[in-house]
Symmetry: C2
Subunit: 510 residues, 2 copies
């Protein structure tokens, strides 16, 4: 099968936008997932998982960049011509699951799931087409108590992962605030998505860019013209005033400047904003509903002792996904850390979510209110890694038993099995190279020690144990004055019968 | 967004051949994966994972049923017209990974990985298009020691999972036995795959069916004609004699009938077969090489104390995947169990593997010998489930705090947070229904107990704890004579300050 025909050889390369995951990251992710899981279980959520592939129509089209031809999703046709897609999040498949199995599920249905999702997007630095999410959802409850719980759970998760209070914040907003203004100013249904997308571009385009996109449209740097929502002046004014309020308040809150006198603690400043907005937008019914829901969330989280240092109203949170209908959440890491190049980076969002009351109704026609939160596991891992919180201290590299005599592999293998039976990670060198290459191999694996038994040792009924770390240290001359004594320390011969106990002793010294 | 337009509603249904995974299975799988992982780590393997999507040409075409139009793989075209595929196993992506990163890896490179793989096949009962595998591979060693280790590791894994010795067996064969006969009888390279496939159909078609497929071809039940390998009579005879030897010996070994006198224990009967085959096929060079490798595996596994009750030569093992070049393995569960309908089922294969010396060379042109084993996690789980070995005894359903007064949700939420802080799974009812529905919800969740605080209790500074299991038992009249006393047992009022300690006590009684 090995073809010498060089032209026909495939290239060994990762597909564009994908990556391999190494041992450190796998171990770190596993630890993280276990911690998140413990918190979610503690909150009474149950695991349920959906497959990676669903009918395209079942997933729907809710991604922010659905203007691209393939709408951000990997899709393919089945034998029977039906379109299938790889999941782009864990929420759309859950909605299908609940709609299909509702009669068997408790109401509300509280579940969590974790797994890889896929986006058919242009990859960039740190931006992959496969990434991991960890979701928790309460389906079948319209109560803000369900939203409040999601927020507290996200906050608890951050602390369980080792992120100190004050270094993260769960920001809460409500889509209804904007919806109310759009309904109140009679912006027609079909234009609302364009408006939402325009607002979502505020960070990148600034107020004038958004204004253009709410009006006639806008020519971008490449000269392409993006058609606008064509709102009238009154509509544009109201939407812009909302954005400006939102962004300036959010900025003030973040910078700690928003401190009205009548509030006792800085922590409540953000919630005071709700009162202010109530007086500005009192004639927009849905907006008022959204603000009341936020008050309820505030009340419940405060009752459990979660202040605005952990859960905070932030009117600038929008969330890109189209299916949100009420409260939306974003979990942001506030601390800065140095990246590999020594630059200060602020992590930003590591997860988000919100209420999606219409996702199940897409299938059944009957409203099933739902809310949930999705942790961006891959992003969160990068953050924890930069903070030095992913180090694996539990796993030791294996002890390597060298093969000094190929005819005696059976004996060496037996030693290895003895070590393994004593729960010591161990392996016989299974390659075909000589002593030097075997030592190099053990070094590259990071082995703490190697076991050697040549003909002489065999004759004496002994094995030699060589401490690799200490050996390397000695070889570098650090302790050259006591060379003789320390060489003995780095290498010791013991009776073969004591192999396991002597290896244990040597490992315990590390 | 909720459309009342019934025609446009998507159907809520799983895609064909896919399935949802429930809480019990997720917990059971997690436990299984952890155990497998511990064994593999103990053997010195390191985790490394490749993405779900690779370039189609990088994965290659090695599935047994590649005659189907899409060749068993889910594929789709990228924006730049390159073809991408979902991985159909974990071995092909590993080969790409090693070829791409060889200079950074130790030699041999010993790694493990676990994850979902996808086959674009016709689904059937118990046959899904997404299933989980757990692989371990040693890349960069041609030594039978690497193969022997894989076999011992698979055996250890079975026992770690709770399958008793004698109830599983790791069967070993060598592709070279057949290759040698094909080369020796001058069967041309391009016909060898057809021959392999014909042999693989022995169980289904019998000896005459295979004979036809080795010759002119064969008409199946539907009348379709499958073209044969068109071998000459001598070639057919030699191949058939090998199959007959293989299958009859395998049958005898399985039934314990193969007991040559010169061997002391029944356990070694299978390996005696190797000697017999050596005298039958002494003029086929590659066959002899294959037999010698098997002897080496035998020697090494025996040296570590693994008898033929655990690792056994079985010449009928072929393995469907095309990329194997030497020893092949199959792990079979031997015990029978009753399925849901009460029928006795024998589990059969729960994993397999073998040596694939040419997979990396596909990319680099340089031979990189490799061997590995793939555990069929989903199949293994089904087997363990039927054996009652997947039960989760660790997880308790959550305590539910009822909402007796909507205005007091903050108080109830606080109780829940106190329970959670004491590591008791707990939740406040977050739905919007009344008392009766709340009790029904707690029942459906399997809650051990509910916490109730109405106006009266609040006034007394108390909470009521109701034991749901005991309550149900009492309600069914089992202990009706001591009704009064037992009602007190099922339901108790305690000071609010003692909530956590009293709940703990009640849970401890279970």
């Amino acid at each position: 099968m090995a073809s010498s025909d060089k032209q026909n050889r495939p290239k060994a390369r990762l597909a564009k936008g994908f990556r391999d995951v190494d041992a450190n990251e796998i171990r770190g992710l596993k630890r993280m997932l276990r911690i998140i899981e413990e918190v979610y279980e503690n909150y009474g959520f149950e695991p349920v998982e959906q497959p990676f592939i669903e009918y395209t129509e079942a997933l729907g089209k809710f991604l922010p960049d659905q203007d691209r031809p393939n709408e951000g999703v990997f899709s393919f046709q089945d034998d029977d011509e039906q379109w299938l897609s790889l999941r782009y999040d864990l929420t759309a498949p859950l909605a299908r699951y609940v709609a299909e199995n509702q009669q068997f599920l408790p109401t509300p249905f509280r579940s969590y799931r974790q797994g890889w999702v896929f986006r058919n997007e242009k990859p960039g630095p740190g931006r992959y087409r496969q990434f991991m999410q960890f979701d928790a959802d309460t389906v079948g409850s319209a109560s803000p108590a369900a939203d409040a719980e999601v927020c507290m759970m996200a906050a608890d998760t951050m602390e369980a992962l080792g992120i100190p209070r004050g270094q993260y914040v769960m920001k809460v907003n409500n889509r209804k605030i904007l919806d109310g203004v759009m309904i109140g100013t009679e912006i027609p249904l079909e234009k609302r998505l364009t408006v939402l997308r325009a607002i979502d571009k505020f960070d990148r385009l600034g107020i004038n860019g958004v204004k253009a996109l709410l009006g006639e449209g806008r020519k971008d740097e490449s000269g392409d013209f993006a058609k606008g929502a064509e709102l009238n002046n009154l509509q544009i004014e109201r939407v812009l005033s909302l954005i400006i309020t939102a962004h300036s308040s959010a900025k003030q809150i973040t910078e700690g400047k928003y401190l009205p006198e009548e509030f006792k603690t800085e922590k409540d400043a953000d919630w005071h904003l709700i009162d202010e907005m109530k007086s500005s937008f009192y004639n927009f019914e849905i907006t008022m509903e959204g603000l009341r829901e936020l008050e309820e969330i505030h009340k419940l989280t405060r009752a459990s002792g979660y202040g605005s240092d952990r859960i905070r109203f932030d009117p600038s949170v929008v969330r890109g996904l189209e299916y949100y209908t009420g409260p939306v959440f974003e979990c942001e890491l506030l601390m800065e850390a140095k990246d590999e190049k020594g630059n200060l980076v602020r992590f930003g969002s590591v997860g988000g979510g919100g209420r999606y009351d219409d996702l199940v109704a897409r299938f059944t026609g009957q409203s099933v209110p739902a809310t949930g939160f999705s942790m961006g596991v891959s992003r969160l891992y990068s953050a924890l890694k930069l903070l030095g919180k992913t180090e694996d201290k539990e796993t030791t590299a294996p002890v390597v038993v060298l093969v000094m005599d190929k005819e005696r592999q059976g004996d060496y293998q037996k030693m290895v099995q003895q070590l393994r039976a004593a729960n010591i990670r161990a392996e016989m060198y299974v390659g075909t190279s000589g002593m030097k290459a075997q030592m190099k191999y053990a070094d590259k694996r990071g082995s703490p020690l190697v076991v050697i038994q040549g003909g002489d040792e065999k004759a004496r009924g002994e094995v030699t144990l060589k401490d690799l770390a200490l050996g390397a240290q000695l070889a570098s001359g650090v302790e050259s004055r006591e060379e003789y004594a320390s060489q003995r320390l780095a290498q010791v011969s013991v009776p073969e019968a004591d192999l396991v106990s002597e290896v244990k002793k040597m490992l315990a010294r590390k």
